[in-house]
Amino acid sequence: MNVTLPSAVSSGGIGARVRRKEDLRFLAGRGRYTDDLVRPGQLHGWVLRSPHAHASIDAINDAAARAMPGVRAVYTARDIEAAGLGGVPCGWQVTGKGGKVMAEPPHPVLASGKVRHVGDPVAFIVAETRAQARDAAEAVEVSYGVLPALPDIGSAIAPGAVALHDGAPDNLCFDWEIGDQAATDAAFARAHKVVRFETTNNRLVPNAMEPRAAIGEFDPDSGEYTLTTTSQNPHVIRLLMGAFVLKLSEHKLRVVAPDVGGGFGSKIYHYAEEALVTWAAGQLRQPVRWTCERSESFVSDAHGRDHVTTAELALDADGRFLGLRVQTLANMGAYLSTFAPAVPTYLSATLLAGCYTTPAIHGQVKAVFTSTVPVDAYRGAGRPETTYLLERLVDVAAREMGMDRLEIRRRNFIQPSQFPYQTPVALQYDSGDYEATLRQALDAADYAGFEARRAEAKARGMLRGIGVSTYLEACGIAPSKLVGQLGARAGLYEVANIRVHPTGSVSVFTGTHSHGQGHETSFAQLVAEQLGVPIDMVEIVHGDTAKIPFGMGTYGSRSLAVGGAAMVKAMDKIIAKGRKIAAHLMEASVEDIEFADGRFRVAGTDRSKAFAEISMAAYVPHDYPIEELEPGLEETAFYDPKNFTYPGGCHICEVEIDPETGGVEVVKFTACDDVGRVINPMIVEGQIQGGVAQGIGQALIENTVYDSEGQLLSASFNDYAMPRAATVPEFTVLTSTTLCTHNPLGVKGCGEVGAIGSPPAVMNAVVDALRDYGVTHVEMPATPVKIWSIIQQGGAALPQAAE
């Protein structure tokens, strides 16, 4: 069914600003996070990590450690191999040019023979207390033979570079392409102008507020293992860890993800520590727990971004885009994390059309192994990289063409009449209206009044600039068949199990997971709306493989677009069954039963039954069509999306630069996003604000720095800058809606748009503020020292990095 709007707004249905049900427990400190859970007889694990970026492990002597007080076990690669455990698997296999599948080197749970990044796990020590485990870790003697580090893409692809993995002698994971090279070359051949642009998308450390944690348990009587973990997708962890690492079948492995304090992608992946605690619990027959230290998380949680890209745009004399050529080097880090190969390829290069009608596009991606923490999806996953590239490129093109930055965009927008729109890079967009979001954002930002604000700032000695980004992204991942063809090793459908209780209250079991997004509220609104029950009669349950049918979890802004659609399907089944029960009770034909606002009515009469009367009849089937209909009112639905969803919009940023210090301040930020139908405007605004904050962080301050030895210099909050309240301005966050045409709710997804659309708006503003210095580009992050250096050099495009 298609849900109609907005009948239930006032009662907490779709469109209402319902306060988040979960917030009271979070704000009052009553959230139950993995680290809060105490198990009887629990032991504590500590991971000994590599201090080197690249080294052979020549010997490990753990005799002294084993003899220390409280120590129950010291595990190294030898034990893992003896037990026959597998390595940490990758969930996506990319096939490159000429049908060559990617290099997929082993990713051992504990480093075997070699360490490949600072933080690579070498030994797992289990003791009665955490302090004892840590003491023992210091007593483990590891002899390393230090090898040359490959701290960045450049060093890894340099001729003669040492190989990190035997299976990838040139440190190349894959060399992949998309689009029509010949058509693109032809477009360039007849171009009026070719604009060239090079950029690095800076590497980010995710830093969710809650560090990762895991508890393994084993029940010797049932043989069942339980892993409680900080995960965005417990079923995926059960699949990856159970099938590939521990070789346990599903019915003996339960994975629970309780309250999780932020993920942003970093908690999608299966990490070695999850396997270690689970396996060790079985070995020791006692629960084993591990909680990451903050500084440990900097070198063990998958990082994000880190692409080096060259792009060329061919334009005709009117500024129309004729062709686009893009070459990207993507840093995979030391090992392939769960989704890593998909990020620069299917989540990034497929977006190279953006919201523009560029007819010919060719993209190439080389993925490279380096001696750094693995890199994987981080809020936006590939889409921020492409959006940043395109929206900076378009500004550079406007400048080189002597065109207005809005005009060049408008001239190339895909028009509403062109949907469905097939891009030259695989995707087919279903809906959007880029002019509408642009116009609304321009008005709200008072774009027309900007020059007066610039002049006023100048009088104060400040350089003010404005930047626009008009973007589109693809989320709501993803059609299983399509992603299967592209190399995914799993389906990307979602599940909902809806259990209507006898009195008409409802439990919803969803395969998605909420780690801050407010699903307990917005999903309840959706269910309340469709079933016509009060919102406080609806409970959303997630995060436990023992309770929930197989679902794929939360990432890629998929929870509502895919998980919500599964709920709609399951509720359709509930309502269909309810109509049959109602028809029986009211002695009418099923065709005559209508369901609306929580009542089953006989059409054209005043006879009706409340939803709760029907659910009661289903569970107390005294007067019931028992011959044809099973008792009970519980339905499960799996939903496999027909397409990606395509949110888009316009972000406008205004910055002021202090020329004396180089400090950049975001003074005004306006976003108008089309995220499809909005279930809870307050939650959507919060998601967008959070995403924009992260985008501003990437643009201005977040700086992941490895030195030439592969040591992470920005390895704590002392040196890695995160956005703070003072970093972000008052936002104006608006939505403008075109409905998704292929899912029942018309929703598109709002979790990542903020982080996708904002960085180029910020950087376009920074470049605009520096226009009097002849600056054409500034690399992210626009730190004070970088901006000051540019100004000192009178605007030389490539500033000297500090040091």
Partner: protein
């Protein structure tokens, strides 16, 4: 953290006795610097001597032409104390910018001075105002107290008990925060008073220092313009992922101008 013994003496004399008896013991005031170091196992003292039970280390009082602040006085107390607000408002404003609320409620002026972090705020004020650091056994002029990175004139068993700030005619402070740690990337404290003009710089070098050229210029003419053309040589300044030495040298001039403007 490694194991350590814990003592909570109630007098300075007892604290010093404990220190003298155990060279590996460390005093702890607010613990805002020491405890993270212990948690990271960067430090392994045999004992912590908690100074929070010593009444004589607390309090702010006026002594003649100076404000005397006890070592255990928190940054929050310095930021809000009426006598400091009246006599040296720039010092109170400085304290209000240290760290965050939690840090200001626990961190102390004594701990900060003894620690002498190159990026800490107070040392610049102590130098510019010609303060005297008070210890259990002597009075040390600020100029002789801050010796180098995390190094002071304190003896191993010597405790900071307080600091005496001569009251200036006017004083001002300006800094640029490090975007990550929010400590001072470079800050300049300027003061003018009976002791002369003082210009103290933090964040820029391994140790806070006085900028003599600026002091001379401001003595001749107290105005932002007077320092605007003075360039700090970058030679011995800090260089890291947040800022080059040349950048910090520039900030010395910029912050000096702003500090003079702040002083009025």
């Amino acid at each position: 953290m490694y194991d350590f013994a814990y003592h909570k003496p109630s007098s300075v004399a007892d604290a010093v006795k404990l220190m003298a008896a155990d060279p590996e013991a460390r005093p702890v005031s607010g613990g805002m610097t020491l405890l993270p170091a212990l948690k990271h196992r960067l430090n392994k003292p045999t004992a912590l001597i908690d100074l929070s039970g010593i009444a004589e280390l607390r309090g702010v009082r006026r002594e003649g032409d100076a404000i005397v602040i006890g070592g255990m006085t928190t940054h929050y107390e310095v930021a809000t104390h009426p006598q400091i607000l009246a006599a040296i408002p720039a010092l109170a404003r400085m304290a209000a910018t240290i760290g965050d609320t939690q840090v200001r409620n626990r961190g102390t002026i004594g701990g900060s001075l003894a620690n002498n972090d190159p990026a800490a705020d107070y040392p610049a004020a102590a130098l510019a105002l010609r303060a005297t650091i008070l210890t259990d056994r002597r009075r040390i002029p600020a100029d002789e107290f801050f010796l180098g990175m995390f190094t002071t004139a304190l003896e191993a068993d010597e405790l900071v008990t307080g600091i005496s700030f001569p009251i200036p005619e006017k004083a001002g402070y300006a800094k640029l925060r490090n975007p990550a740690s929010r400590y001072s990337m470079t800050g300049v404290f300027v003061a003018k008073g009976p002791q002369g003009v003082g210009v103290g710089v933090n964040g820029a070098a391994p140790c806070a220092f006085r900028q003599n050229e600026m002091e001379a210029a401001l003595s001749a003419s107290w105005s932002a313009d007077a320092v605007a053309a003075i360039k700090q040589p970058p030679d011995d300044l800090n260089s890291d992922i947040h800022g080059s030495a040349a950048y910090r040298a520039n900030l010395v001039t910029v912050m000096a101008k702003r500090a003079v403007a702040d002083a009025g």
